[in-house]
Amino acid sequence: MSVVETNEAAAQVPENWEPKIIAFCCHWCTYTGADLAGLNRMNYPANVRVLRIPCSGRMNPQYVIEALNKGCDGVLVCGCHPGDCHYVTGNYFARRRMMIFKRLLEYEGLEPDRFQVRWISGAEAGKFRDTVMSVVEQVRALGPLNLTREIPYFELPAVPDGEEAFDAVPEEVVPEEVSA
């Protein structure tokens, strides 16, 4: 049984509805990239609010559940490119965790576009802007997130360590950025 009502919501979209999206950005790469977008006076939709975390490895899946439960329509998690983590390995762990978590959310019926993971470096202001624009458009197309019941609040089972954890994630669920 899906926790998410398949959206016939498009019919019920309130007037002037704007998607609410929260972006968890690591301090060293993506937050810096977002600042650079500002310095370059780039324009992007205001639907995304950035929440700064020290490293994508700090990203706890609980935050995503909380955001979706409390009314966000989409969540974006951004970090340094794999191999460039300021803390050496943090984004590798983030990659594994987020992939597994994404599968779980999709299994529960969440549309894949509502939870996205992207790697954006401190120099990629343009990529930050493009990512925000595309995520906003994708979520806008999906309409408001209607939860028929709250997603049960639970501690995720521990992610297995080592290579098998990574291998356990089939290629197709890896967003193009991640697999690249």
């Binding site: 301090h27 500002g38 992007y44 929440l51 490293c55 935050y63 955001a67 762990f93 992610v159």
Partner: protein
């Protein structure tokens, strides 16, 4: 109830041009726990900062939200400001109203709404923050250098000259490393011994340097400023306080052992100095081959020693000391090519030698006193083939990487051979000639003009016909199959990390790449640091290099060490992980995930249900933790939290945002 002050900045028109700052202020006043809101044209200016300070005192504010430019810009400014007030510097949250709001949106209404959200988030978070305090980490003003080759010696000298104590741990019986084995150095052709041995004695005599030869690192604990290192000094069986280094023992010792320093091309005695100019200039007894120590019969050295320095009862000694910084200068070895290249004879032809063997052959103090004589019959080879990239750039049989120094030293070998054997012929098989360096390409061109015949192509097979070694290759520039009937073949083999590097690096939690080279913290910007604070890299332990590059890196590593040792104490970053010991199950998931080795499991005593229990819990080392937070997510019990970015504060931020 906390008392939050909100300070909003116009940043001239930078923020105020798009965001209605006064409207944001109006909203902020309505937020719970906010006791004071102020707007300012330039909050970061002196009068602006003064205003913030005054407001804090006057209004009794205990935590602060600044809505201004990016925290990446002025967060340190605000922290510094708060340090002068009763407010803890970490009771601060910055709302990024400029880079991530006013500058990226055009619509005033939309931007103002977003600014309101950002301030709400900041207020929600700051309400949950706790005061944090840096701790002072004392710095032991002493450095440890592991490895006494040219990189290690240069690092030690630079640090010692700056006035700090240095200990060099050298596994062999003498300083000098690989450089002292070489004959001449490119491109200037200085005699290697002439420039290396003075360094060795300088190190040996330096008042600030302690040389621990024939020693290895046994154990390590601690962190930046405070590495507690146990060193095993192997039994030398000679009392260095009595020994004068006269060498009488060496002349009388009856045991003969293959001489590793001469690359197996001569023999040494069981009591030996590695080479005549060794530092320390005193011998050791090789316990594996000494007749007295293996069979109990002999004892000649003890009889001839004029000072009675021989002690057959000697044992390994362990000493423990604390060092503020550690430099790895563990160097390289040449790859063992024999099992990899059966097509080159796999070691069955005595006259197929390595570059290092060739160095000893042309070295005036080597086994042939500098005459180029091939090992099998001690005749002068009239035709020599040099093959590059043996084991390098060969993922099938050896390593995928380029060993970087071989193009130059093969040119040097060709030059030296033609110099010593004027009627000789020299052929160099190469795939590319890589000579980026000052004077390097000129050197290569000179070698060509000396008469070295360069042939582009890998040799496929070396085989023997009569007493000639037939090398079969292709000259790819003419697409011809070529053979050379050579008297001797020199293989310029790949550099690989020194033996035991994996175990040693693991002791210090220093990262290694797939080929076991030590990994620098950042390939471009932090090339001599490692990811473990206080541990630095010099020379070829980090990757193949030539001597100039090794010396350069040694100097760079030394300057980093000097910078560290100059401080009396380090301020720790207080935004680090904290264990909730009540929840912690001590299963060590956090220990495995931490890239810095900052977490350990300790047995601790607790009072639970009026009973004393001892159970394992995680412990974070504040000197090692860098505050990435990877452990917080991995903890199944949720016992790990990151100070400054606690789970609760982030959840409240999320909640605040969702109210929009």
């Amino acid at each position: 109830m906390s008392r939050i002050g909100v300070f909003l900045c116009y940043c001239g028109s930078n923020i105020a041009g798009t965001v209605d700052v006064e409207a944001v202020a109006e909203m902020a006043r309505s937020l719970p726990e906010v006791v004071y809101v102020e707007t300012n044209k330039y909050t970061c200016s002196d009068p602006g900062q003064e205003g913030v300070k005054n407001a804090i005192i006057e209004k009794g504010i205990d935590r602060v939200v600044v809505g201004a430019c990016s925290p990446r810009m002025h967060e340190p400014t605000w922290r510094k400001l708060l340090a002068d007030t009763p407010v803890n510097p970490y009771m601060l949250e910055v709302a990024n109203l400029r880079e991530q709001c006013s500058w990226v949106h055009k619509d005033r209404e939309v931007a103002t709404a977003k600014a309101i959200d950002l301030v709400k988030m900041a207020v929600a978070k700051v309400a949950r923050l706790q005061p944090l305090h840096s701790i002072e980490i004392p710095v032991h003003k002493k450095a440890l250098v592991i490895g006494g080759g040219i990189a290690g010696m240069q690092t030690a000298l630079d640090i010692a000259d700056a006035g700090f104590q240095v200990t060099i741990v050298e596994r062999e019986t003498s300083l000098g490393g690989k450089m002292v084995m070489l004959d001449k150095t490119f491109p200037t052709m200085d005699c290697s011994a002439c420039i290396c041995t003075p360094k060795m004695s300088e190190v040996g005599n330096h008042p600030n340097i302690t040389v621990k030869s024939y020693s290895e690192v046994e154990n390590v604990s601690g962190y930046i400023g405070n590495f507690e290192v146990t060193i095993r000094e192997k039994a030398k069986f000679i009392d260095y306080n009595l020994c004068t280094g006269c060498g009488a023992c060496e002349t009388k010792c009856p045991a003969k052992v293959t001489n590793a320093f001469e690359q197996g091309m001569s023999q040494r005695t069981a009591i030996y100095k590695m080479f005549p100019q060794a530092v320390p200039a005193k011998p050791v007894i090789d316990a594996e081959h000494c007749l007295k120590l293996t069979t109990g019969k002999c004892g000649v050295c003890s009889k001839v020693c004029p000072t009675g320095a021989i002690n057959y009862e000697d044992e390994d000694k362990l000493t423990t000391e604390t060092y503020g910084a550690v430099v790895f200068a563990t160097g390289y070895k040449l790859i063992d090519w024999k099992p990899l290249y059966p097509e080159y004879g796999g070691g069955k032809y005595e006259d197929v030698i390595t570059g290092l063997q060739f160095e000893r052959l042309v070295n005036a103090s080597g086994p042939t006193e500098g005459h180029v004589l091939r090992p099998s019959d001690r005749t002068e080879p009239k035709s020599v083939v040099i093959i590059k990239c043996v084991g390098s750039r060969d993922p099938n049989k050896g390593k995928a990487y380029c060993s970087r120094a071989c193009c130059m030293y093969s040119a040097k070998h060709a030059h030296q051979y033609l110099d010593k054997v004027p009627d000789g012929k020299c052929y160099v098989f190469y795939m590319d000639v890589r000579t980026p360096g000052k004077g390097y390409d000129e050197f290569y061109m000179n070698t060509l003009h000396d008469g070295a015949q360069y042939i582009r192509g890998r040799v496929s097979k070396i085989y023997k016909e009569g007493d000639k070694l037939i090398c079969k290759g292709e000259d790819t520039l003419t697409s011809s199959q070529v053979t050379v009937s050579a008297d001797m073949v020199v293989l310029e083999t790949a550099m690989v990390p020194a033996d035991g590097i994996d175990e040693l690096a693991a002791k210090f939690t220093v990262g290694r790449d797939a080929d076991s080279w030590l990994v620098e913290a950042h390939a471009k910007l932090r090339p001599v640091e490692t990811n473990t604070a206080g541990i630095y890299l010099a020379g070829t332990c980090q990757g193949p290099k030539d001597i100039p590059d090794s010396v350069c890196q040694a100097g760079a590593a030394a300057s980093k060490v000097i910078g560290l040792l100059n401080k009396d104490a380090l301020q720790s970053n207080p935004q680090i992980s904290r264990v909730n010991e009540t929840l912690c199950q001590g299963d060590g998931a956090c220990v495995n995930i931490c890239p810095y080795g900052a977490i350990s499991i300790v047995e601790k005593q607790f009072r639970e249900n009026s009973r004393k229990v001892v159970r394992p819990v995680a412990q974070v080392n504040p000197g090692l933790c860098q505050g990435c937070g990877a452990c917080t997510v991995t903890c199944r019990a949720g016992a790990m939290d990151l100070l400054g970015y606690t789970n609760e504060s982030i959840m409240r931020e999320v909640d605040a945002l969702c109210q929009w």
